[in-house]
């Protein structure tokens, strides 16, 4: 006697075409993005010590656990293996200061995964970037720990308690003169910002390693130029025009490019598929919008940095932008 399973094996599979598919899948993409953030994570350990591992570890673990619990409670299939909760945790952790009390990322993860992601319907349905909502919640709830920054100490184990402001913080409070003085000279300032040797969130400081990760994402085709370039371009243009004290066109766009969370935000967070527009033209407008809001907050707002709020505010507009720039079906343009 053949068992049912054996019998089925012998039958031919019937389904509607296409009968072949690309290798891309959600897990493959999510894990690849996570891998692209690995250099940023490693450099954060180099600059901020083992504490970086603790913060990122707690964030990742909480996100994964909260996703499991929520999906179990909602009687849905548990999808932690798709890597998206892992990535949310990784992004959240990399967006936090090294000195954050470790229970706080747990709460941030709760807000990000449970409320922002799953109560809105889970992956694909969330309006806002879960990691950024989690971080926003933390910033509002614990403003002090969330803005207490330590000087990087090149060394794995030490945790010398020298607090300092971030470059954007110094720029906001004391002006560019003070910032240059802190780093010696302008060139030195740029180099240190580029390498990441400055105070800031764990994963945002080193522009060079972030760009290595971003290059990998470009190579794999997971991100395109539309969002990051329009975003970064807008920030540079507007800070150059309005960023200076002595009138228009006196700002320092390179300083703004290299500091804060711009690179991390532009290449790894504003590009989130779920919360950004899908239409290419809409993506450019989205990027410009995020850039403009970032600069508005950086130059005129109460916070030194505006990337997070810029992305979240533009997330609201993603569906609208997609609708406004709807693809034009073939054969519907009247030609002469």
């Amino acid at each position: 006697m053949e068992t049912k399973a054996e019998k089925r094996e012998k039958q031919l599979l019937v389904s509607i075409g296409p009968h072949i598919g690309s290798e891309e899948s959600i897990p493959r993409i999510m894990w690849a993005v996570s891998i692209s953030l690995l250099p940023a994570f490693i450099i954060s350990v180099y600059y901020f010590g083992l504490r970086a591992i603790a913060v990122v570890g707690v964030s990742v673990l909480s996100c994964v656990i909260f996703e499991t619990i929520t999906q179990k409670m909602l009687k849905k299939k548990v999808t932690i293996s798709d890597g998206s909760a892992f990535l949310t945790g990784l992004l959240l952790g990399l967006n936090l200061p090294s000195s954050i009390p470790l229970y706080q990322p747990v709460i941030g993860s709760l807000v990000g995964i449970v409320i922002t992601k799953h109560l809105f319907g889970g992956l694909g349905y969330n309006i806002f970037n879960p990691a950024l909502i989690g971080r926003t919640f933390m910033l509002i709830t614990w403003p002090r720990p969330m803005t207490t920054w330590y000087k990087p100490v090149a060394g794995i184990t030490t945790m010398d308690a020298i607090t300092t402001a971030t470059p954007l913080g110094i720029l906001k409070e004391d002006g560019i003169g003070k910032l240059i003085e802190t780093f010696g000279d302008k060139m030195n300032l740029y180099i240190n910002l580029f390498l990441g040797n400055r105070a800031g969130s764990l994963g945002e400081t080193s522009v060079i390693v972030l760009l290595i990760g971003a290059a990998f994402l470009f190579y794999r085709g997971y991100i395109t130029w539309h969002i990051p370039f329009s975003f970064v371009g807008t920030v540079m243009a507007l800070t150059w025009i309005f960023g200076g004290k002595g009138g228009l066109f006196a700002g320092d766009p390179i300083l703004h490019l290299l500091s804060g969370g711009l690179i991390l935000g532009a290449f790894f967070m504003a590009t989130d598929y779920v919360t950004a527009p899908a239409i290419r033209k809409a993506q450019i407008v989205f990027g410009i919008g995020v850039g403009a809001l970032t600069v508005l907050i950086r130059l005129k707002g109460g916070y030194p940095e505006g990337v997070m709020f810029g992305i979240l505010l533009m997330n609201c507009f993603s569906p609208l932008l997609d609708r406004a720039f709807k693809a034009i079906p073939f054969g519907t343009i009247k030609r002469k």
């Binding site: 039958q11 031919l12 690309s22 899908a278 239409i279 073939f330």
Partner: protein, 436 residues
């Protein structure tokens, strides 16, 4: 390189057979000839059980204008008339003929060396009576395409040699092995349509075909051979016209709306064979290929030959076959059994292994936008699939659902593995008046 917007580039997998010359398949012992092998109304059988038939003898009478006759592809005896499995998936009225191995032509077949002196109406009638339909896969009766309404002035004929479906190489081999006949067929089509400009579009992955055809074109004024970018679905009519002429067939329209008639290269050869040698369409070239077949081949096959015969001729299955597809892997139809006849529209038999056809659960759309970039029709498949998933069919219609021709590019690229083509078909089904 000539191109269109959107599209995808799946692994071509043509190396299995692209170098293999066409060989005659063994004469089948038995053929099952469906009375419906074309887009349009099925034929009426005009033979009875027990009747002797000859090769090329008409056995099915066209029923209405959009219809096409069918002929016996072997000589023998009609042993059954009834419903038999059809590659479309539904059982369909068919005539079953048992062969007598004599393979004798019917008396009515006559050569016409002077076919060029025939009038256009006569040529058109020959094409119709030969039962010629589009051999690219859609199987639209060719005589109708050659009889455009008066108000549609046809200016250009395009022969489709793109063969953009992965695996398939039958058109490729036809262009390499019978290039002159392709040109003769094209010239007949151009004559019937009173057109002076003809193009043959070939994807750039067939350099030998392009070279051979270009050589002949150099002495054929008015006919141009053009290389096309290798991209699926380059061989879709609207995309082909866009690439070659930069013309856009209006939404819901036909190529004739922009003054173009598109025919497959295989169809052109069939037209030539019918006009020059009086041969009705009783055989075609197909590619039997894939990792599930022992010896992939390009075969000249009698219409009605069971897939099982051809698979046996290609050494049978290997590697645990998972899917047997009539046509290419993008738009072809998966079969439940190999007791299925080759029909006029069967461009190939692709056998995929079980490993290649693993089914995965699909996820919600996570809005990556890959399908929007891939859609050759400029649609937003992601949105359409979500609307249809939620039963919002009318909105899907307003978002140009009916422009979708189910090429499957969106489903191919989707990382969430969503069954996009099923969604589109479902939406269209619910919107069609029959469903109510």
């Amino acid at each position: 390189m000539l191109n269109f917007r959107g599209g995808i580039h799946p692994p071509e997998n043509k190396w299995f057979t692209e170098e293999k010359p066409i060989v005659d398949a063994k004469l089948p012992k038995k053929v099952v000839i469906p009375l419906s092998q074309h887009t349009g109304t099925p034929c009426k059988a005009i033979v009875t059980i027990g009747q002797d038939v000859k090769k090329g003898q008409r056995i099915g009478e066209p029923n209405g204008y959009v219809s096409s006759p069918v002929h016996s592809s072997i000589s023998g005896k009609v042993i059954s008339i009834g419903n038999f499995p059809h590659p479309s998936g539904k059982d369909s009225p068919s005539v079953v003929i048992e062969g007598d191995d004599r393979d004798e032509w019917s008396e009515g077949i006559k050569e016409r060396p002077d076919y060029l002196s025939l009038g256009n109406d006569e040529l058109r009638k020959i094409v119709m009576e030969a039962g010629i339909v589009g051999l690219g896969g859609a199987a639209f009766p060719t005589h109708i395409k050659l009889s455009p309404p008066k108000e549609k002035k046809i200016e250009t004929v395009i022969l489709n040699g793109a063969e953009c479906e992965p695996y398939l190489t039958s058109d490729h081999r036809i262009m390499v092995e019978r290039p002159n006949d392709v040109f003769e067929g094209l010239k007949i089509i151009m004559k019937i349509l009173d057109v002076t400009k003809g193009y043959i579009g070939i994807e750039d992955n067939k350099p030998d075909a392009i070279e051979t055809m270009k050589e002949i074109a150099s002495s054929e004024p008015g006919i141009e051979v053009v290389a096309l970018k290798v991209k699926y679905p380059q061989g879709a009519e609207k995309q082909l016209i866009k690439a070659i002429l930069d013309g856009e067939v209006p939404s819901g329209g036909l190529p004739m709306d922009v003054g173009v008639v598109v025919q497959n290269v295989g169809t052109a050869v069939a037209v030539y064979d019918a006009c020059r040698y009086g041969k009705p369409l009783i055989e075609r070239i197909i590619t039997v290929t894939g990792r599930g077949v022992n010896e992939p081949k390009n075969l000249r096959v009698r219409i009605g030959t069971p897939f099982s015969d051809l698979l046996a001729e290609c050494g049978g299955f290997r590697n645990d076959p998972g899917k047997v597809i009539a046509g290419g892997p993008m738009m072809g139809i998966a079969q439940t059994t190999t007791e299925i006849p080759v029909i006029k529209g069967t461009s190939g038999i692709v056998v995929l292994t079980r490993k290649e056809t693993e089914q995965v659960e699909y996820c919600p759309c996570f809005r990556c936008g890959r399908c929007i970039d891939a859609c050759p029709m400029g649609l937003q498949p992601s949105i359409l699939s979500i609307l249809i998933e939620r039963g919002r069919y009318q909105e899907a219609k307003e978002n140009n659902l009916f422009d979708c021709f189910e090429c499957g590019s969106c489903a191919y690229v989707c990382p969430a593995k969503r069954p996009m083509v099923q969604f589109m078909k479902l939406g269209k089904l619910f919107l069609s008046p029959k469903k109510g």
